[in-house]
């Protein structure tokens, strides 16, 4: 499965992660809902691939302990 973050970028440039999504369609649906919210008119949104190291992988050292 794809793993995508939706990030909200505030007017001050601060990035806040909305969540982790598993398809482009699901992520885009969230972005569309957020864009439709007038309270968030000053935010920009991006959909980015979740970098592999962020998602936990089996760590052989830790698994042995």
């Amino acid at each position: 499965m794809e793993k995508l973050y939706v990030n909200a970028i505030g007017p001050d440039g601060n990035v806040s992660t909305v969540g982790l999504f598993y398809s482009q369609a699901e992520a885009q649906k969230i972005v569309d809902l957020l864009r439709a919210n007038p309270d968030r008119a000053s935010y920009r949104y991006e959909i980015v691939e979740a970098v592999r190291h962020v998602l936990s992988e089996k760590d052989p050292v830790r698994a042995r302990s």
């Binding site: 992660t17 909305v18 598993y22 398809s23 969230i30 809902l33 936990s56």
Partner: protein
Amino acid sequence: MADPVLAEMVHATGATESRHYAAVKPTIQDYRASWVKLAPFRDGPVNSQRETVNDPAAMTARIKARATELGADMVGICRLQPHMIDLGSEVAHEFVIACCVAEDYEKVTQGPDAVEEEAMRTYAKCTEVATALAASVREMGYPAIAHHNGASEVQAIPIFYQVGLGELGRHGSLINEKFGASFRPGFVTTDLPLVEDQPREFGVQDFCMNCNVCQRNCPGDAIPQDHVITHGIKRWLIDLEKCYPYSRLREEYCHLCVDACPYIVKSHPETYKAFMKERKQVGYKTPKTY
């Protein structure tokens, strides 16, 4: 299935339903039916004789006492903010009352069926508390809607954080000093004039940076090492593709990340020690009854 990730994973196995949900025992089915049955009563007629609230602090104390009398173990109140409402939903109320019912942690040593039954019992109790509390508020002449497992438009974690009942932990659940992550939520949104509680930070997020016990016990390796930031708060986003093979595609309930969370150790030292001894014996990263 409302969850597209689960639907895709279930269909990939050739099934039409999650094995976990298909296999639930009659007791658990009864609990689930109880919140479905109460869903139509989450809202109702509002008494036309509105009680005047001259002292919101006194009213807040009264509401908290009522929630406690109904069975809540903790109660908190805050203003309802947009990020607490499900995307695409509208809730016009000004306040949200958060109620929590604690699970009996002693069940962890009795295996996953006992843990699941306790979780569902607690959800059912939260549903009762929220439904009755909303009815009490409407009787005072103010609109009020209950939000629970049967029907809800609010998000539990940002509300619980804002009312000061806990901080978000690495395992994705809120952690309270007394109950750890072993509690369940129910909510009432309302326009009744109340006084807000405040968020309380007691070191959970810093603790989780170094603890990793939930991560070491997760059989699916679904709990990440690194975090993201949302509105200044650390979030470790659980990888559902790794979680669901253990929590949804097997018959047994998986609640290990919460059960292994050491924040429960102060209130249940012996049980926690016994549970973790059992975890060690089975090698940590496995469902414990294998």
